[in-house]
């Protein structure tokens, strides 16, 4: 069982604005993929379409060969597609530990998790996710009281707790300190090899460090695909952005 995402003819229009136009893409199983592009290129829309937050105007999305174009968001999540959000969203009234447990709950495979004892077992097994993103000491803090960086880490931990086969990360490095980015990198690298990762990012250094393949979107259309090195050298990509991306490997935040 692989975690391959196949997209064909995917289009999403909002009235007169076409955010994503006739995309044909495949995210190979177990790969580390990045999606980049100038603001407004349709990257987040693409993630929303894959995750099921949005329905496409036309086109198909296949997950492991199964057509999920019409499948509801919650169902897709239970099938193994997890995501983080551009603005990290958490459940503010609940503690950090509860947030992770609730995120893991539909994927835990045990029945009757609503019973106290089983819930506690689940919660304990989720502690490792807190460690992975480094927020173990915040476990009992109400999630609404977290600072932005901590909230981002919690958001990521919640996605990891779902034990996904496909992990969609929407600008995970935004607003993180260097230390946070390092931890994020470590967490992504620590993922099992079978998990397919799709990262939307602006930080090209992060992209180079994480991704095997980079897909460039521009105005909702596919501009280029290749390894990070190929993309960094691609002239059409450079002109799509305002100004140079810089040399491959140089840290540059393009905003």
């Amino acid at each position: 069982m692989t975690g391959v995402i196949e997209i064909s003819g995917l289009t999403r229009a909002f009235g007169a604005t076409v955010a994503v136009s006739d995309l044909d893409l495949t995210f190979a199983a177990g790969g580390r993929h990045a999606v980049i592009g100038p603001n407004g290129a349709g990257k987040t829309t693409l993630l929303n379409l894959i995750a099921g937050e949005l329905r496409p105007t036309s086109g198909r999305i296949r997950y492991d060969g199964r057509d999920v174009t019409r499948t509801a968001r919650a169902k897709r999540s239970r099938l193994g597609i997890a995501r983080t959000f551009q603005q990290p969203t958490v459940w503010s009234s609940l503690s950090v530990a509860d947030n992770i447990a609730l995120a893991a709950w539909p994927h835990a495979g045990t029945r009757g998790t609503w019973r106290r004892r089983r819930y506690r077992t689940l919660s304990e097994s989720c502690e490792r996710h807190l460690e992975t993103v480094g927020i173990t000491d915040l476990a009992d803090r109400p999630a609404g009281a977290l600072a932005h960086g901590e909230r981002r880490m919690l958001d990521i931990a919640m996605a990891l707790a779902a034990d996904p086969r496909v992990l969609l990360l929407d600008e995970p490095a935004a607003g993180l300190t260097e230390q946070g980015v390092a931890r994020l990198l470590a967490a992504v690298r620590a993922l099992p090899a079978e998990v397919t990762v799709v990262v939307v990012e602006h930080d090209f250094a992060f992209v180079s460090a994480v991704a095997d393949t980079v897909t460039v979107l521009h105005d909702g259309k596919l501009l280029a695909t290749g390894t990070p090195a190929e993309i960094a050298a691609d002239a059409s990509v450079r002109t799509a952005y305002l100004g140079d991306l810089g040399e491959p490997g140089v840290v540059e935040e393009v905003r």
């Binding site: 995750a51 919650a74 009234s93 609730l102 539909p106 109400p142 609404g144 009281a145 977290l146």
Partner: protein, 355 residues
């Protein structure tokens, strides 16, 4: 209302007793007062102990009228707890909870008039009928949001009252059902034919049902509901069947409301469409507002406070009950600054946001 935002307090000082919202520094005094009342953890603090003492000594200190008033407050209190479940925990601020309350009351009334006078049986049947009512109406109500949800629950409630007034053969029409015979709690016990005996029965039933509700709300089930309230979309993204949870919460709240309705019927020995009126729905909403959105105990205290105030004020101003209730509403809405005591309407789906 407000999306989860970065809080104002520095990370190290988040108050663990404020579980419902991030702390805003503006109005600390009422915040503290609210915190005391709204803590979901059973802080057996001053108000709770005082209330418990009052409830226990009431039959020997109050007259028949006072005891009856207290019994009614308890019945409405159970209805208020159902609002805690829906509005406080699930984030569904229904303004029509008096409808299942009325369904429960009529069930008890009809049973009583047909000779089925066992208290616990009436309670079970009333709660069941109300749950059925909620199950059916919930199928459509659950799919609405925000303003449409408010309007739909209001409309369902009003129509239920209209139907109750129309269905003479079943309900006795707008005049209501008089002279419902007193019940005996369990087969073999004495008939509850005095204010005091009815009071103890109502008190016992209230304590039991609220304790059960409280336990369930403190369990992982309560966490599920709170998360749906905080961010429904995130719950869906995580794989939870949110619509199912909300429908179940709606049915459970209906059952609770029906339970309260049966108690009200037992106290009054009379049922009428007025039991389902919007005034009742709004009254218990106000009680929840006063007591803290996620506190069943606070809801009970709030209901008691409103019933007592209304009664106390109706002495010098007879016949102006609605006016007094209306003024209480207006004052309460302005005086409670942090939204309606944390009763959050779910996050708007539209990017423009709601008012």
């Amino acid at each position: 209302m407000s999306a989860p935002t970065s809080p104002v307090t520095p990370s190290g000082s988040a108050d663990p007793s404020v579980e419902t919202e991030p702390v805003m520094p503006t109005v600390r005094a009422s915040q503290t007062a609210r915190t005391i009342l709204s803590s979901p953890r059973l802080r057996v603090g001053a108000p709770a102990t005082a209330a418990a003492v009052l409830l226990l000594i009431a039959p020997s200190t109050f007259d028949g009228y006072g005891i009856g008033l207290l019994s009614k407050a308890l019945a409405l209190g159970v209805l208020a707890v159902s609002v805690v479940v829906l509005a406080g925990f699930a984030g569904l601020p229904s303004v029509g909870q008096a409808a299942p309350f009325m369904v429960g009351a009529y069930t008890a009334g009809i049973m009583g008039q047909h000779g089925h006078g066992i208290g616990v049986v009436q309670l079970v049947c009333g709660a069941g009928a109300a749950a059925g009512f909620a199950a059916v109406t919930g199928l459509v109500v659950i799919r609405t949001r925000e303003l449409a949800f408010l309007m739909t629950t209001l409309a369902v409630g009003e129509l239920a009252v209209a139907v109750a007034g129309q269905w003479h053969s079943l309900t006795g029409g707008t005049d209501g059902m008089y002279g419902i015979p007193p019940v005996r709690p369990v087969p073999g016990t004495a008939l509850l034919d005095s204010d005091k005996s009815v009071y103890w029965y109502v008190l016992a039933a209230t304590v039991v049902v609220v304790a059960v509700a409280w336990r369930v709300l403190r369990s992982p089930v309560g966490k599920l509901l709170l998360a749906c309230r905080d961010h429904e979309a995130r719950m869906r993204s995580a794989g939870h069947p949110v619509t199912l949870y909300q429908w179940l919460a709606y049915v459970a709240a209906g059952a609770l409301a029906g339970f309260g309705g049966v108690l009200m019927c037992t106290v009054n020995e009379y049922v009428s469409p007025a039991d389902g009126s919007f005034a009742n729905s709004a009254l218990v909403l106000l009680a929840v507002v006063l007591g803290g959105a996620t506190s069943p105990l606070g809801a009970l205290l709030g209901a008691g406070l409103i019933v007592a105030t209304r009664d106390w004020l109706s002495g010098p101003f007879p016949g102006h009950g609605p006016l007094l209730l209306g003024l209480m509403f207006i004052i309460a809405v302005y005086a409670l600054p942090n939204g309606v005591a944390g009763v959050k309407v779910r996050l708007p789906r539209r990017p423009g946001g709601s008012a």
